[in-house]
């Protein structure tokens, strides 16, 4: 799936970006299938806003976002659900787990929301890899941020996708755990021949990026 941004600028940031240029805002830019893109930006320049625009959680922007040439604004709610189930997976900065479901149920829900991409056993394998096996049967509300972040990563990886959108996905993890998560994400994207868009505050060398953009 190709993502195309045509002169997109969020309404709240419009004045700010009238003064200066950006790699993304007010620009015409294409993200091609399978590309690995890093977006680096300081706080307050709209990283999360961009992620939410791409995921159609907000529409207070000017310009146009096209998925495979089709306008995102015009996407129906049913088609949007299909996109989210099949094409675009996401790791939110604020994690967004169901507090009253157990860790396993949170992941399982995403696995069975569409025709399962993986057997349920894969959840255990991934949890093992990220070191969260011991909390799988614990309510998500009782997990630490570090644990919740790893659960959110696993949840994003049990579904089919051609784009993985990650909004500061390692903010609560130490270097050792970041390494494990990076390895898992790398493998899963390879498997699907999928690309990703990763936003962060600083430069990093977690992945080999095709492009690094600044907001």
């Amino acid at each position: 799936m190709q993502i195309e941004l045509k002169n997109v600028v969020p309404v709240p940031l419009k004045d700010k970006f009238a003064q200066r240029t950006s790699d993304i805002w007010n620009a015409h830019i294409n993200f091609n299938q399978g590309e690995r893109i890093k977006i680096k930006a300081p706080s307050g320049t709209g990283k999360t806003t961009l992620v939410h625009i791409l995921y159609k959680l907000r529409e207070d922007y000017e310009g146009e976002v096209l998925l495979d040439g089709k306008g995102l604004r015009q996407t129906s709610s049913e088609q949007l659900a299909i996109n989210r189930q099949q094409q675009v997976s996401i790791i939110f900065q604020d994690l967004r787990l169901f507090p009253n479901l157990t860790a396993r149920e949170n992941i399982e829900l995403k696995r069975v929301l569409q025709k399962p991409f993986y057997e349920s056993g894969v959840i255990d394998a991934m949890a093992e890899q990220l070191g969260v096996t011991h909390i799988l049967n614990q309510r998500a509300a009782l997990c630490s941020y570090g644990e919740q972040q790893r659960l959110a990563i696993i949840r994003a990886l049990v579904q089919p996708f051609s784009w993985l959108i990650m909004d500061e996905p390692f903010s609560h993890l130490d270097q050792a755990n970041i390494g494990k998560a990076v390895a898992l994400i790398d493998t899963e994207c390879e498997k699907r021949n999928a690309g990703f868009i990763l936003t962060d505050l600083d430069d990093d060398t977690h992945f080999t990026y095709n492009r690094q953009l600044a907001l």
Partner: protein, 393 residues
């Protein structure tokens, strides 16, 4: 698996009291509606089914009320035409009076009797006696007659015991020849007559129409005599409109046969009241049910919103929520229909003892009403769910 997880997230537990209220309200209102449909169907069935043709009078003999003061009790052509045009009249027949004097006497000496009487005739369609002997032409050796059943009863249980005469069975009376004398203009002609049947419907001595036509032409003294009695066939002798019509036109009939009029009024009132009450209650019950759905969705607002964010399709949520709310409606309809079926069976048992025959099963219309209610409930459920799920996005 998805449903188990959704069930954990969207608990229908909120507003349980509201749910119980909605269920009770829905059940009572549906019970009232189904009962009124069933009662209406039963009444219709009672009037139209073959079994009840005899138990419910469909034929009424109508004449003017004799008050003592009026000039004549004959019916004018205009009066007959007006009656014919009434919606409750299916068919009318005239009771043709004989315009000559008739007397009868026993043809054998075993049962000696002699009496003056009269003949009337009516089209065969209106006669409730089936007999192969009910025909007459110029070559017939006897005149067939149908007499009221009441005559035989009066004779057997009133007259015979008091006079020391033997009681007669219907078969015996049918086998006895009677000598009939017709007197006209001073001349007397003798014939044999035979009773071929007993009627419960028409209180008159009936002879076949062809005989009456022939005899009136031969012996009749007043060629333009107007009929004074009519017989009408009606779908519903209990129709209050009919009773009112007769009353306003000074006409009368066997009160016994119009007794259904009172029953009819009662049925109408009961059906009407239960119909309206049921409909009003249904509205409120639906409102409560809608509120219950709304409350459940509102209390799971965050969960539904996150589910949609994660990619749950609105259709998936609709299907799940329908699965939560709609089955209770199916059960309610099933239970209320079963209750009405039970009541119908009881009613059938009770009325059977009174010789009123009803179907022991509930009518097709009641089942149809059930299906319609199911559709209505489905639409209400679905639109409410759709509306409020869309509102959570």
């Amino acid at each position: 698996m998805l449903n188990i997880l959704l069930k954990k997230l969207i608990k229908a537990g909120a507003g349980r009291i509201r749910f119980v209220m909605a269920v009770v309200g829905l059940s009572v209102s549906l019970l009232l509606i189904f009962s009124s449909v069933q009662l209406e169907a039963d009444y219709d069935d009672m009037l139209n089914s073959k079994n009840n043709k005899d138990s419910v009078a469909n034929f009424l003999v109508i004449n003017k009320e004799v008050t003592g003061g009026q000039a004549s009790t004959t019916l004018t052509d205009a009066e007959i035409a007006d009656l014919k045009s009434q919606p409750f009249v299916e068919q009318t027949g005239t009771l043709t009076p004989g315009r000559f004097k008739v007397s009868a006497q026993g043809a054998s000496n075993s049962i000696p009797f002699s009496t003056d009487f009269f003949f009337e005739s009516v089209a065969d369609d209106f006669i409730d006696v089936q007999s192969t002997n009910w025909k007459w032409d110029a070559n017939s050796t006897y005149i067939p007659m149908i007499v009221p059943n009441m005559f035989l009863t009066m004779y057997n249980f009133g007259f015979a015991p008091s006079q020391g005469l033997p009681q007669l069975s219907a078969e015996l009376v049918k086998s006895l020849p009677v000598q009939i004398s017709i007197t006209s203009a001073g001349e007397t002609a003798n014939y044999f007559g035979k009773v071929v049947g007993f009627s419960d419907r028409i209180s008159s001595v009936l002879v076949p129409q062809p005989f009456m036509t022939w005899a009136n032409a031969k012996f009749g003294t007043n060629q333009n005599a107007k009929p004074s009695r009519l017989i009408i066939k009606t779908k519903d002798p209990g129709d209050p409109v009919l009773t009112a019509y007769l009353k306003s036109h000074g006409l009368t009939t066997d009160a016994d046969k119009t007794r259904f009029s009172k029953l009819r009024k009662t049925v109408d009132v009961v059906v009407g009241v239960s119909w309206v009450t049921g409909a009003v209650m249904l509205l409120f019950a639906l409102l409560i049910f809608t509120l219950f759905i709304q409350l459940t969705i509102a209390s799971a607002k965050d969960e539904i919103s996150l589910l949609i964010t994660l990619g749950a399709a609105p259709k998936q949520l609709h299907r799940f929520l329908m699965g939560q709310f709609f089955p209770s409606n199916i059960i309610i309809i099933g239970v209320t229909l079963a209750l009405v079926a039970g009541l119908q069976f009881l009613l059938q048992q009770v009325l059977h003892n009174q010789n009123i025959y009803l179907s022991p099963l509930i009518s097709m219309f009641t089942i149809l009403a059930g299906i319609i209610m199911l559709l209505v409930l489905w639409v209400v459920n679905f639109t409410t769910i759709k509306k409020y799920v869309a509102g959570q996005r």
